[in-house]
Symmetry: C2
Subunit: 527 residues, 2 copies
């Protein structure tokens, strides 16, 4: 029987509290024993990736209690409940089924007699068919000319994840001769966003993908009409240039204004929708459906490892537990995501949503206030760029920021150049290796301004190359990490009530039904 208990009621959590500041990564990683630790504190992930936590503030004692915590909190049992179709999103009375988008992990999940896995698979197949026809020029514009570019209109989960995934694979696809259509994205209700994208778009040869699960997203509907206005002014018919991704119950569904429509349902949260039709349409059109299938395969492989009860066999769970230890025991309020891969430039922005919108909560899954801190602030930029920016504070600031490094042995484009005896890719990796040790071990200097105290923990996810499959595994790793942390904090990680008040007040402002400070701020902008 599954118990949904607050973190601070668990026996293992009480034990964990006595283990604050137990491990010095500086001591553990310095000297000759450091090499052995790097070898030992390493766990295989899906798709050939590896999770290394040698530079984290853990040791066998901490890890044993973290295993106890995972067991006591029944996190893998909760995951099983989730993928078997329980209503985990209690606040909205919804199942949570994004794992089914990429494979079957447990029982068939039915909703109103619909087999959910079959439904999701049928959508991906329909997208594949559509994308093939576009690529084979069976679907063309009204003049019979091919579509050469795709622009996604969506915001939040309909933007950040798909955009990050597109950027992650654009150069890989170029190298592998499967960049079939370049993609761009319009998200912000600021009309300058759409105008800038349109200024760089060949409208006659562009397919637009309108993405809104509810079909009522203010920004997306405004941007749809903004774009349609340009399409019409160019003498084109918007219905020949736009497809929709939405739910079957939305006003956008089955609408002749769209060339085609693809569907998700209420059990796919926006921030978990990159592997659904929301990411599937743009990625299949850009790179081909086969690439999207490899991406799903990588994600599914990571989902399977997330079923393991033993934390050293389950890197998502291990990562989640170490993050919880850092947040609730060590008291670190932020985490930085630092991919040493320019292709992952927007992964931190996607994870910022995935993590902060899922676990930035102060009530548990029963709606009761909790008495411990939950989700941290997530931020980050790719390395080496960040080294020339905010790393100063990470190395020598007054606060400690846990770090998540990501790196690959090989880059995506075939070209590189040797300067001073090394390629750029080797320089990139050398910087990454150096940073881990610099943060952990520091360096004594009699001049305090040049002294590095070290003791700044990090973990490293690494692999051979960022490909569709490793990208899928990477994405699912973080999705599952966030899910496990939500279970440990006893949160509902799948609603987002915190966004509602702003929407309500915005409506009041636009209806001119305001008073007090809100009226005054509205008047500033002459709304």
């Amino acid at each position: 029987m599954i118990q949904w208990q607050n973190l601070d009621t668990l026996e293992a959590y009480k034990k964990l509290q006595s283990l604050k500041n137990l491990v010095s990564v500086k001591e553990e990683l310095s000297g000759s024993q450091g090499a052995q630790r790097v070898k030992n504190y390493s766990v295989p992930m899906a798709a050939g990736l590896t999770y290394n936590y040698a530079a984290k503030e853990v040791n066998p004692q901490v890890l044993a209690i973290l295993q106890e915590l995972a067991d006591e909190a029944q996190v893998t049992e909760k995951f099983q409940e989730l993928y078997n179709g329980a209503v985990i999103n209690t606040g909205e009375n919804r199942k949570v089924l994004h794992h089914l988008l990429r494979g079957q992990l447990g029982n068939d999940v039915l909703f109103e007699e619909k087999n959910e896995r079959d439904f999701y698979k049928a959508q991906i197949d329909a997208i594949a068919d559509f994308a093939h026809k576009v690529h084979k020029r069976e679907i063309c514009n009204a003049a019979g000319e091919p579509f050469t570019a795709v622009v996604q209109i969506g915001i939040g989960g309909s933007d950040l994840g798909p955009r990050a995934m597109y950027l992650a694979l654009e150069q890989w696809a170029r190298t592998n001769n499967c960049l079939k259509m370049k993609a761009a994205f319009i998200s912000n209700v600021d009309p300058d966003d759409g105008a800038t994208v349109i200024a760089n778009t060949d409208l006659a040869h562009t397919l637009f993908i309108l993405v809104s699960k509810s079909g009522t997203t203010q920004e997306t509907l405004a941007n749809e009409l903004f774009v349609k206005d340009y399409i019409k002014k160019a003498g084109l018919n918007p219905a020949c240039h736009m497809v929709a991704v939405t739910s079957e119950t939305s006003p956008l569904a089955n609408n002749p204004e769209y060339l085609a429509s693809f569907y998700i349902d209420d059990f796919i949260g926006g921030r978990y929708s990159s592997t659904s039709a929301v990411g599937g349409a743009v990625l299949s059109l850009a790179f081909g459906p086969e690439v999207f299938k490899d991406f799903l395969a990588g994600a599914h492989e990571a989902d399977i490892t997330a079923k393991e009860k033993t934390i050293t066999h389950n890197p998502s769970l291990l990562d989640a537990l170490i993050g919880l230890y850092e947040r609730n025991i060590q008291g670190y309020p932020t985490t930085a995501i630092l991919p040493y891969s320019q292709a992952l430039s927007r992964l931190p922005a996607h994870l910022q949503q995935a993590d902060m919108e899922s676990n930035g909560k102060h009530v548990n899954c029963r709606g009761e206030k909790v008495d411990y801190v939950t989700g941290p602030i997530i931020f980050g930029e790719p390395g080496t760029n960040g080294q020339h920016s905010f790393y100063q504070l990470l190395h020598q600031g007054t606060d400690i920021v846990p770090l998540q490094f990501i790196g690959f042995k090989n880059n995506q484009n075939g070209n590189d150049i040797v300067v001073d005896g090394s390629t750029s890719q080797k320089k990139l990796c050398a910087n990454l290796a150096a940073q881990i040790v610099a943060f952990a071990c520091g360096k004594r200097d009699d001049n305090p301004n040049k002294n590095f105290t070290g003791g700044r923990p990090s973990s490293l996810i690494y692999g051979e190359q960022l490909t569709p499959k490793t990208l899928g595994a990477l994405l699912a790793h973080f999705e599952n990490k966030i899910m496990f942390q939500g279970f440990l904090w006893n949160l509902n990680s799948f609603d987002q009530e915190g966004v509602q008040l702003g929407k309500l007040l915005t409506k009041q402002v636009l209806a001119h039904k305001t008073e007090g400070a809100l009226k005054e701020f509205s008047d500033i902008f002459e709304i």
Copy 2:
């Protein structure tokens, strides 16, 4: 006589510590008195901007002590020392002269008989002359064809600021018919960064700007050769396609491999170089030198307001003091930058460097360890995008994050569309107004999951439109805010010793002179 004293030795700071949690923004901003507070807590900035701090946790009592603190810490006197040429960057024995890039604030500043203002102005004039010639097609490629695009190669301050400023004005320039050359940027040593930019570049008609003050930046030199390789393979002569921005003592100076060279010197820190030749070359080529001059004029106007001793006449100082109160008294470790303008999409990344690299320090300007927290973590994304991402945590998470909103009455592109009775621009502004009040005042609900406690402080910078002049004022506002906070924390905000250890260890890795953990991490990547 100026005293460089630690924050915790100041009398006013001791008084401030007794004022923790004194002001409830929820109470102050709710009800009918809220409107008056919005009117009262407002200060004019340069270039027609306004700083509103009605939703900050201050009242006349707190503000009075903050004024005492500013006076006791002699921050405007220190600013005067700085712009009159004192060696404020003590660790590197350097003056700090970025204010001179945009105007004369005090005495003439001489260095080795060179008038620094004249030197900086001569560089801007040389850039203007060069840009005019490129625009008039007097400077062309070897085939006599015009240059139509510009690509900046640089990292850190040679990338983030110029890139953020370019993006801030691209749509404005398009609307005002002065987008003369589109710009792109290569920064990361990851060869996929350069490869992706080059794949989208018409090499024959592109000017590259190589930017490195020292002329020794590893990433930038590797990227220079990476790009030159492509240029040569295209049958072109790199010397006809590349200009340099560097210091006169660098290996890049006076080098016939460049079509032209423009100079800065050691008194311009990378993160403060957007108004120097580092930003000037790319912005003058992209938009015309007149636009860059307006940008400088806005920055200079903001610098002049920063001379005011009275904090309500000096918005940069007021902003700095409130930030310090939030960091050191209220105990908030992070700050979010939230521009409601897609054009400012990379301003948060630039301010992340400007702030965290300047004030992420644990030693004072004499190199002694301080016993209080210094610079916060800075992060952010444009609104309304962020609303659909991490705002859930900002509204309902367990930690409080102070917020810096930025917004404009009018957008940059001429087009907009009315949907449901309002334009997209009005929707954008309505969302901004609504968020300020939602964060501050919250909303009671018997369901704790739908309850918003409020009490989440924010400030607002607003104006008519984001233009070259308002952008300059905005940039200088933040530069001066960071400077004042550095004075208050008694830091040297102008060095960055925290980046050195990583560089050293990277060299060891590339030279295969490693052992222990560093060797192990190097082996992972087969370096």
